[in-house]
């Protein structure tokens, strides 16, 4: 029996100890009408070898050539050591560290993670993760509205181009609490339209993504100052890899962002169809009691030795129930483990090098593609690591033509904005070679002919 160790003798002895005549007798409190449903639609079991052969055949169908798609998920190099260590059974098969003495490995690691993420984002406190960047933005919005209880409106504004899937997830998560997230205020250069933002009236919070969905750099200092003067909390959505070179949200404007969130996927986590990755959530110490999810604190044991434990649990659902900051329980611990090892291996210098290499490859990509007839950069604002190209033809069809050549050639934007139907969002990471870029440019040239 797969994964069940009982010999017939075991089963018999255990039933005898219980005083039950059969396994089925153990279910005698269940209404007979409910018992033994028809499962014939589920196939019979197979052994591991057969399962793996079938899965390998399906996985092979999805292998592609080079990937030039980013939009929140990036094809970075992952040091071999990251998953060799994160994949150890002691990390992989433990659970939430409720028994602190038996979980010091996970707890100290989370403490180190909190230290790294606050250093990276320029903030004071971090939780131990939420599910992903999109749902994390929803949690950030709920946090901001709680922290600004006396705000005139349960309205949240969006300064500039924020990932439409992030906004959709945040809206699903916050809508039932009477919170409205506005449509993004985007100007002609692909970044925030500050006049439109000001005209929209008072908001509890303002969301800004840096670099934004189009890869463009938002005027974050101006936006931070505007938010502070308007009495709105500033929620920053950031790519943690980009923070290797870009100004951290804690330094934006005069006083920094209030809440910083985003997706940790660029930090050593494979694309894997978008998950599992993890969402990070950092803030000022004065908002720490509004943070959802697990938080680890350093303390001492009875012998005075340093140790780590879950703390501020009175915020959480298992204590506070209906008054909790969120219903989140299980989060994305294993991915936090991978990201912590990744950040330890990269350090500040490695992160800076990787981020700058991504940007350099993207500039080469944009130059190569813009040299193709009919292709031009869509927005004038400076970009980082990702860029929108107008290719002069419906981008859906061109992306399909590139796919037939095995190239994942960027994201057609018409599905998000009909005005951008001829536009592709393209990206290159440090993994893309000059040959990859040449091949993409050649394929683009053919596809547009």
């Amino acid at each position: 029996m797969p994964f069940i160790p009982h010999t017939p003798e075991d089963t018999e002895a255990m039933l005898a100890a219980i005083g039950a005549p059969s396994l089925d007798a153990l279910f005698d409190e269940i209404d007979p009408a409910l018992k033994d449903p028809d499962l014939s639609a589920i196939p019979k079991g197979v052994d591991e070898m057969t399962m793996l052969a079938d899965m390998a055949e399906r996985a092979r169908r999805d292998e592609t050539g080079p990937c030039f798609l980013g939009a929140g998920c990036y094809d970075h190099h992952i040091p071999a050591a990251v998953w060799d260590i994160a994949g150890r059974g002691e990390f992989l098969t433990a659970y939430t560290p409720y028994q602190a003495e038996a979980s010091q490995g996970t707890l100290q690691l989370i403490y180190e993670y909190q230290s790294m993420m606050t250093a990276l984002t320029g903030t004071e406190v971090s939780n131990a993760s939420v599910y992903d960047g999109g749902s994390g933005l929803g949690e950030a919005v709920l946090m901001a509205v709680r922290a600004r209880r006396r705000a005139p409106a349960r309205r949240v504004a969006v300064a500039g181009a924020c990932h439409p899937h992030y906004l959709a997830a945040a809206s699903t998560i916050t809508r039932n609490q009477g919170i409205a997230i506005d449509a993004p205020c985007v100007g002609a250069d692909g970044t925030a339209d500050l006049d439109a933002l000001a005209a929209a009236g008072p908001a509890a919070a303002v969301i800004v993504q840096q670099p934004n969905f189009y890869g463009a750099l938002e005027p974050v200092d101006e936006i931070a100052r505007w938010a502070a003067q308007a009495g709105a909390l500033l929620i920053a959505v950031v790519n943690p890899m980009a923070l290797g070179v870009l100004k951290p949200p804690g330094d934006w404007g005069d006083d920094g962002a209030d809440i910083v969130c985003g997706d940790g996927q660029p930090l050593g986590i494979p694309m894997a169809s978008g998950g599992p990755s993890f969402g990070f959530l950092c803030t000022r110490e004065r908002f720490v009691r509004q943070l959802p999810g697990r938080i680890v604190g350093r303390t001492v044991d009875r012998a005075g030795r340093t140790g780590y434990t879950l703390t501020l649990q009175a915020r959480e659902q298992h204590i506070r129930r209906a008054k909790a900051t969120s219903n989140i329980c299980t989060n994305q611990g294993l991915l936090v483990t991978a990201a912590t090892i990744y950040l330890a291996l990269m350090g500040g210098e490695g992160l800076r090098r990787t981020a700058s290499a991504c940007h350099a490859r993207t500039r080469e990509l944009v130059a190569a593609l813009a040299a193709v007839d009919g292709v031009r950069q869509r927005f004038a604002a400076p970009f980082f690591h990702e860029c929108v190209l107008d290719i002069g033809q419906p981008a859906d069809a061109v992306a399909a033509a590139l796919a037939r050549r095995g190239i994942v050639g960027g994201l057609p934007l018409g599905r998000f904005d009909p005005e951008l139907a001829n536009c592709l969002l393209v990206c290159a990471t440090e993994k893309r070679t000059a040959a990859d870029i040449d091949a993409f440019a050649a394929a683009m040239s053919e596809a547009l002919r």
Partner: protein, 485 residues
């Protein structure tokens, strides 16, 4: 040395150079956008990082190295084959927004998992989007709200939850803009039907139930409860935290539930990862089909290709819950596990999980431990209370839990559900051997003897781990949440 953090190991200028590409030119970027000082991350060698985190891992109890009978968490073996399947290069390197034409293998897997979960829950439709049980709960209650809203039935503002429910249930009701209303659990662990009838009314949006319940017993009058709630115009939400107990033996759809979530990291054996990732797919009956969260996979008629459903297919969906497809890699592991079990294997999961729990319960009772519900069959888990020991010896459930760690066993869930004083919620799972269960009973018997002979030994446990009990009050009062604090 064990107290040092990764930051303490670093030296300025040291780095894991093999991982660092050549610097790229940033000359085109306005200076105002650039970072001044680099982030204060560790500066260590690759070996230092590998050694440090390997040593940290050794401080964890995990299923791979210990019996881990954590009630309501279903800490069973996580098959390595499933792990391998999810790590196949075609899956690992697939971009979430890759065109459908380049994703047929992945989409076929999700479609098959949707179909499997439909059958095993007895429901009409499945979305795999929720990323953990609590997000499945959120999706389920949001669908209940969407259903009432679509019918213009806006007066329904209450979600009923039993007092023994997981904290996520009332927290979810709040997130969906509802009031949580508690109903009591009776002396034998079933919901108090008389109180439930009183609670039901035109304000009832629905009820959230875990079955078998968090008391470790099957809700015997579930069909009557379903009728009463439906008569009142409410819908029933099934919290799948305990589905492992009845997998293949009984289905929420047949019990009258309108929506259920499954914890794939429990019932479908995906690894818990030190606190996630999980996955919390939702299965729904006909009433809620139109409101399923996105995305999910459709198959074109006549066995054609697979594609993502979009807004045009599902205009009344509650929407997205994440940026992409939830915890896709966990979904692949669950499918791999389901393929290896097959239909007959699923039935055995429920049977042997229940066998192990009942055996352990009977043996502990015979050894003199007090059961919370002695008249009842255990489901896949059961409750022991130490109220006698607490009164007579001053030994609490927490003391016993900590002493169990010294015996090399992870502690069961303690102090949950709240209505049973000084309790352990014990869930052995089907993947443990009889010998392992017998060893647990032996440890418990020895701890009981220690408690009678030398209570201080138990009260000051654990004695064999890297740290003894931690000062949690100090941790919360003097917040030290980073290395700079």
């Amino acid at each position: 040395m064990s107290e040092r953090t990764i930051f303490d190991l670093g030296r300025p200028g040291r780095r894991a150079a093999a991982q660092h590409p050549a610097r790229g030119d940033l000359g085109d970027l306005p200076r105002g956008h650039l970072r001044g000082a680099p982030p204060a991350l560790p500066e260590v060698s690759e070996l230092q990082a590998v050694r440090h985190y390997t040593n940290l891992s050794a401080k964890n109890f995990a299923i791979d190295n210990r019996f881990y009978p954590l009630g309501s968490c279903t800490m069973k073996y996580n098959p390595r084959g499933a792990h391998r399947a999810a790590g196949l290069p075609g899956f690992l390197n697939r971009h979430p927004l890759a065109p459908d034409a380049l994703s047929q293998g992945f989409l076929s897997c999700l479609y098959e998992l949707q179909e499997t979960l439909k059958t095993v829950t007895g429901m009409a439709g499945v979305s795999l989007a929720p990323m953990a049980g609590a997000q499945g709960e959120f999706a389920g209650v949001a669908m209940i709200r969407a259903y009432h809203d679509a019918r213009g039935d806006a007066e329904r503002r209450e979600i009923i939850v039993p007092s023994a429910a997981h904290g996520t249930n009332p927290a979810t009701a709040t997130m969906c803009g509802y009031r949580a209303r508690e109903v009591a659990v009776g002396a034998e662990g079933d919901v108090d039907i008389a109180e439930l009838k009183q609670a039901l009314g035109p304000q009832t949006a629905g009820i959230m139930l875990t079955n078998p319940s968090t008391c470790g017993v099957f809700e015997r009058r579930i069909l009557e409860i379903a009728d009463r709630v439906h008569e009142a115009g409410g819908l029933l939400y099934y919290d799948g935290a305990n589905l492992n107990a009845i997998l293949g033996k009984a289905r929420p759809g047949d019990m009258g539930f309108d929506v259920a979530h499954l914890n794939l990291h429990k019932t479908f054996a995906t690894p818990h990862g030190g606190g996630g990732p999980g996955a919390g797919p939702v299965a729904v009956g006909e009433r809620l089909l139109a409101h399923l969260p996105m995305p999910f996979v459709l198959r074109d008629a006549a066995g054609g290709g697979y594609r993502w459903a979009d807004e045009r297919d599902c205009p009344a969906s509650i929407g997205r819950l994440s940026a992409f497809m939830g915890n896709a890699g966990i979904l692949l592991r669950a499918l791999a596990y389901a393929r290896m079990l097959g239909r007959e294997g699923m039935r055995r999961v429920g049977e042997y999980a229940t066998l192990n729990a009942n055996y352990l319960m009977v043996r502990l009772a015979a050894a003199g431990f007090e059961l919370a519900y002695p008249e009842r069959r255990a489901s896949h888990e059961f409750l022991v209370t130490f109220r006698g020991e607490a009164k007579a010896l001053g030994i609490t459930a927490m003391d016993v839990a900590k002493r169990l760690l010294d015996y090399g066993c992870h502690a069961p869930t303690t102090y949950f559900p709240l209505l049973v004083p000084e309790c352990f919620l014990i869930e052995p799972t089907e993947t443990e051997t009889k010998e392992e269960l017998d060893a647990f009973v032996d440890a418990m018997v020895r701890i009981k003897a220690e408690a009678e002979r030398d209570p201080k030994l138990v009260q000051s446990a654990p004695h064999t781990l890297p740290v003894t009990r931690l000062d949690e009050v100090r941790a919360a009062r003097e917040l030290k949440l980073t290395n700079r604090a």
